[in-house]
Symmetry: C2
Subunit: 238 residues, 2 copies
Amino acid sequence: MPNADAILRSFDGLASFSGPERLLLQRMLASPLSHDAGEELIAMGNPFDGPRLILSGWAYSCVNFADGRRQIIDFYLPGDVLGLSSRTAARAQASFIALTKLVTVPAQALVPPSDQRENFPGLWKACLAIEDRQVFRHVRQIVRLGKQLARERMAGLLLDFFRRLERCGLEGDETFEMPATQEILGDALGLSTVHVNRTLQELRREGLIRASHGKMQILDIDRLSALAGETSWGWMHY
Amino acid sequence: MPNADAILRSFDGLASFSGPERLLLQRMLASPLSHDAGEELIAMGNPFDGPRLILSGWAYSCVNFADGRRQIIDFYLPGDVLGLSSRTAARAQASFIALTKLVTVPAQALVPPSDQRENFPGLWKACLAIEDRQVFRHVRQIVRLGKQLARERMAGLLLDFFRRLERCGLEGDETFEMPATQEILGDALGLSTVHVNRTLQELRREGLIRASHGKMQILDIDRLSALAGETSWGWMHY
DNA sequence: CGCCGAATTGACACGGTTCAATTGAGGTGG
DNA sequence: CCACCTCAATTGAACCGTGTCAATTCGGCG
């Protein structure tokens, strides 16, 4: 796994770790597990069987209607942790599904047993930061769907992808692999596929992004950020 | 506080408590604090100063845009716990504001210190259940805003209110006080005030609800539930 | 009585959906 | 290497759920 180191390094943005903590984090990488694209990782209502760190591939959480409608709640990218909870036995409030082929490792090391928290303050702090981010992503998603226009929603989501992938190393220019189809984007943004298409074209025409063949390039971060309204409502952490 | 007992009793739905645990819960009620309507309880980005149980009144969490747009993330009703987190020092990912005059008590008892969790399994279980519910409310809100029509959103939100108030004792018929104005409902549901008005009228005309003068009555739970799609996508707990 | 915020109404504009068809790109087998 | 298949992306036109604007009415309260 070439980017495993980059991912571990990205954790330094959350907390600073002692030697033993670093060792525990390293040891997580030992037992990777592979999932196929489309595989359901956890069904809605089931308990997580422990947090898992994504080494490569994308996943998403979603809610499916009986009539075929589907709402994507959140995406999980390389470097993200799936099903993390400082509380044991938390239940999945949505289905978790692999968007692409996925490689994960167990991330139980991030949640020291309750009587060990004082000995591993770095791990504990990282765990809390990850959970805070998770909540904030939900909040951002609610704001997007409730109060933003199509172009604003799209800008926000693409920036989200970019910033999260940037953390653990990106090619160099502002380009990244984007395995999400326009249908997936639509289900996440509460838009029809057709309108996703038109919205992307609009952003392209304005020179904000370049997108084709599963690649996405951010051409103008500042204007995209302004469009997404990041400066307009409180912004905190990434 | 007349309904304090009813609220404590509602906790029995989450877990079963030992004698000492019951005592701790009782003791929470000792130091109530009052807030005025409109008061900001916690600003976005600030750490919670510990969880607080609402004895009476409503609150909401929201995100404000610079241009005046506002998205309400979630509501907090009597019997709900504000800012609960098994992790200490979690930060508020939105502003928390009192919708009405509010009476709260500190609810730190729900989060036993990490080395005491084995001694208070009921409290710990309740804490986890409350956090799970919190996440699920966010998921429901995302689904509403992303994939539901105005009438479906409204049905879901009103049922939410009803079920949560029902837990800690309601008058008897399916009636409850509804301090949220149509503007507030609109900011929560991602709709204009005007359209909230028309939607409510529609539900009234169809005999689903009766609403006036800050009172709301649910006339047909089953049809309202079907409209909200509760049967259509996985349902778990309340 | 008179004020003010909330609820209500009608006319019109617009963002986004739906339907239906076409194009394009990657993959497979002959 | 080409024919073929399939899934994703793209396009155009008609339609519709909701937003916007601008009054008007209602209800509670000093």
